[in-house]
Symmetry: C2
Subunit: 190 residues, 2 copies
């Protein structure tokens, strides 16, 4: 029954978010889901497997939110702005996924690596498409779309840092907008 699986996943998601994969026990998940531990193994192969699915779910949520945000606006500039802001906004909410992307101790799980690559791929693809469209519409004049897309992801990576330490003195959204202003001016056709 797919519905039960979902229930387990959403419970596990919360517990993982709070304690991480190591400090979360199968008994805990089972108890919270009001079922025997053995039952979990009827629906999932292992603890890793549950975690992997949680990560995957969160990853898809983020991708969906990003795609939605992009489609809601028209111009390439708006799309990039929407992308960056949406990414910032939702990434920290998806605790498990975020920790999968950043925590070193999760490196050795192959599914984590797979999910990371998958997202990087999506991110690069999406940004490249926007840049291409911008070029075609005559808004941008980006020579090397690949490099520029990579540059954007690098900048996004850098932005995660102030996001974590959440320095209240800095208004991240304003900051991002000013930063994008410069980037846009650099990419604009003239």
């Amino acid at each position: 029954m797919e519905e039960k699986k979902e229930r387990i996943l959403s419970i596990a998601q919360k517990i993982f978010a709070r304690f991480g994969i190591n400090k979360t026990t199968m008994d805990e998940i089972a108890k919270m889901a009001r079922m025997g531990k053995a039952t979990l193994y009827y629906y999932f192969k292992s603890k890793e497997d549950i975690f992997a699915e949680v990560i995957h779910k969160e990853s898809n949520i983020l991708k969906q939110k990003l795609s939605e945000a992009i489609n809601k606006v028209k111009t390439p500039k708006e799309k990039i702005t929407a992308y960056v802001l949406t990414r910032m906004k939702h990434l920290k909410e998806l605790v498990n996924y975020y920790s999968a992307l950043t925590d070193d101790y999760l490196d050795h799980y192959s599914f984590v690596e797979k999910e990371r690559q998958n997202f990087t791929h999506y991110e690069m693809d999406t940004l490249k498409n926007i840049l291409f469209a911008g070029n075609n519409e005559g808004v941008f004049q980006v020579k090397d779309v690949d490099v520029t897309a990579r540059m954007l992801t690098i900048a996004l990576k850098g932005l995660e840092y102030p996001l974590i330490i959440e320095d209240k003195a800095v208004d991240i959204e304003t900051e991002i907008n000013l930063m994008l202003d410069i980037l846009f001016k650099g990419m604009e056709k003239r």
Copy 2:
């Protein structure tokens, strides 16, 4: 005798670089310096103290290299390029300092935090000065110098990541130059 202190520091620097602060013993340092362990305590208060001075020394080396690189060229654009490339090039060489900036397990040492802040301050100051000069010379037209400088540091922070995993497929220097091209275009007066 200040010279002896220097000798101890430069020996400790090498050992710390290889084994980190925890796995380095005072006996080791003493033996390498061909002196009794107790003598170390004549020159330094503690092991932390030695490490702090090593960090401080490396931090100063980096600052000096950066200042040199900047002064060697004239235009603001050249200065920024020189800054970024010099930073990339030398940061990974200064092993102890680099690990102080990045390793979480060093967080609780107050001198590490102090050194981090100190460097961030230097970095922001230096970049801001270049941007100001660029504005005054009519090369740049940067509205908010503070935010732009912060943006540059964020981008630099993001660049550290591909630096660590050193993906051979990407030529970092070329990448940086292309990236700076866009940024310059965005900051240029027109």
